[in-house]
């Protein structure tokens, strides 16, 4: 019976990881290019409400901001035949700072953000991820403290990331639409959106309380699945 339960757990984990990889980072069909489909929210709009991120926030954040970026991106690419074959990731790494980069990167960042949270999220990491966090920060608590400080301290709009680089874990923050895909050798594992629109409805200027809610939603499975 014990063996069966272990087998079941590891099979479930394998399926879960395969699903996340298959989802692909843009939340749309693999290798798609212009015209991009509207991105989907991986859970119901009120799924994170019990952990402090309201349906009004998710509805506006996804419905207006995230979808708005895709609409603007498609509009901008309408007249750029030479870019229409590029995937979202290709656009992010090929385009200089400007409206097309902003829209592509923000589309990608937001999809990564929805996946970094889950209705059943929170709690603590396990296995390989836990080991890697402890190797870098000594404990999960120390890691959370530092990540929270970086998230609270980022001035202006941006994102805070748990990434893997040179086989080690690290915390990175990017400004405005900044995306880790533009730095070679960096694998993003999790992200927290610290643009004001991510928390203003629920928390006004109290970003630290929003960050606590983010931890209550954090999707460790997604982070583990992203590890190289």
């Amino acid at each position: 019976l014990h063996c069966c339960s272990l087998l079941l757990t590891s099979v479930t984990n394998m399926i879960r990881q395969a699903v996340f990889r298959g989802l692909n980072r843009t939340g749309v069909r693999s290798a798609s290019s212009f015209p991009f489909e509207m991105p989907t929210l991986p859970y119901a709009v009120d799924a994170l409400q019990k952990n402090g991120i309201s349906d009004q926030t998710l509805g506006t954040h996804h419905g207006k901001h995230h979808c708005g970026y895709v609409t603007k991106l498609n509009a901008a690419l309408e007249s750029k035949k030479d870019l229409q074959a590029q995937t979202m990731e290709q656009l992010i790494t090929s385009q200089p700072a400007g409206p097309i980069f902003n829209c592509a990167a923000q589309t990608w960042n937001h999809t990564f953000y929805w996946n970094s949270m889950a209705p059943g999220g929170g709690g603590s990491p396990t296995g390989k991820l836990k080991d890697a966090i402890e190797a870098q920060w000594g404990s999960v608590d120390k890691f959370k403290e530092e990540f929270s400080a970086r998230a609270a301290g980022h001035f202006g709009s941006g994102w805070v990331w748990l990434v893997q680089q040179d086989g080690k874990l690290a915390i990175m923050d990017t400004h405005d639409a900044g995306c880790p895909l533009t730095t070679s050798g960096v694998t993003p594992l999790l992200t927290c959106d610290v643009w004001e629109h991510a928390y203003y409805i629920d928390y006004r200027q109290d970003r630290p309380s929003y960050i606590k809610s983010w931890w209550a939603c954090v999707n460790w499975d997604f982070a583990a699945a992203n590890m190289a």
Binding site: K64, N102, G156, D176, A177, E196, Y200
Partner: protein
Amino acid sequence: MEMAPLFFLLLVAFGTAEITLPDLPGYGYSDLEPFMDEATVRVHHDGHFAAYTNKLNDALEEINTLSPGTLPEDPVDMARNYNILVNRLRKKVTQPLVIKFRNNLGGYLAHDLFFRGLTPAKAKPTEYSGLQTLGTALKKSWGSLEDFKEKFLDESSKFFGSGWVWLVLELKSGELMIMQTKDQDTPYSAGLEPIMCIDMWEHAFYLKHKNDKQGWGQDFWRLVNWEQAELRYLAAQEKRAEKYPVAGDGDL
């Protein structure tokens, strides 16, 4: 022991009195309705503006202890001379403190200008009442006030990230310009004098407008205090004359 001279010495050594959070200038929290909702006025002024003021005071206290006498008293002068001052401070203060100084000095100044640049819509007899010399200059630069408005709001509607859009006077050329700054940077250090500004940080408009920057711009325009803008323009002209006494521009 004589305390008064000691106190005076300490005051001189460690900098002068704290900067206080300015009250809303001549209007109450709900007086900007319906164009700016009361909840936003409250959190913007009592939350964000207050935080910038407090953190600026913290930064100044630290800097004035580490490098007494380097900074001028007036925050506007600090901003005008920002680059020179930071250069002088470089060996005595850490980079994080410089950043704290930059962000909160800018935050304090920008918000002060912003709130002083607003007035209840009902207090304005006409849309542009108060504009005189500045009105003439705006028409000269943009053709008409409507064209100026369109250009300004176009700049603010397409703003990305956090920052501000300003109408400024370039001291050297005497030209009026619409320009943007990121985060809490102000135009002062680039030799540009602010005339009026719109806050494009999301906290300025999110509760009422969500991501509708166009809607925010239209509402903001109803509240612009053009009397204040006129005064700022005249003061900027004086500053220009002071700084560039043999100006080639014979228009004004």
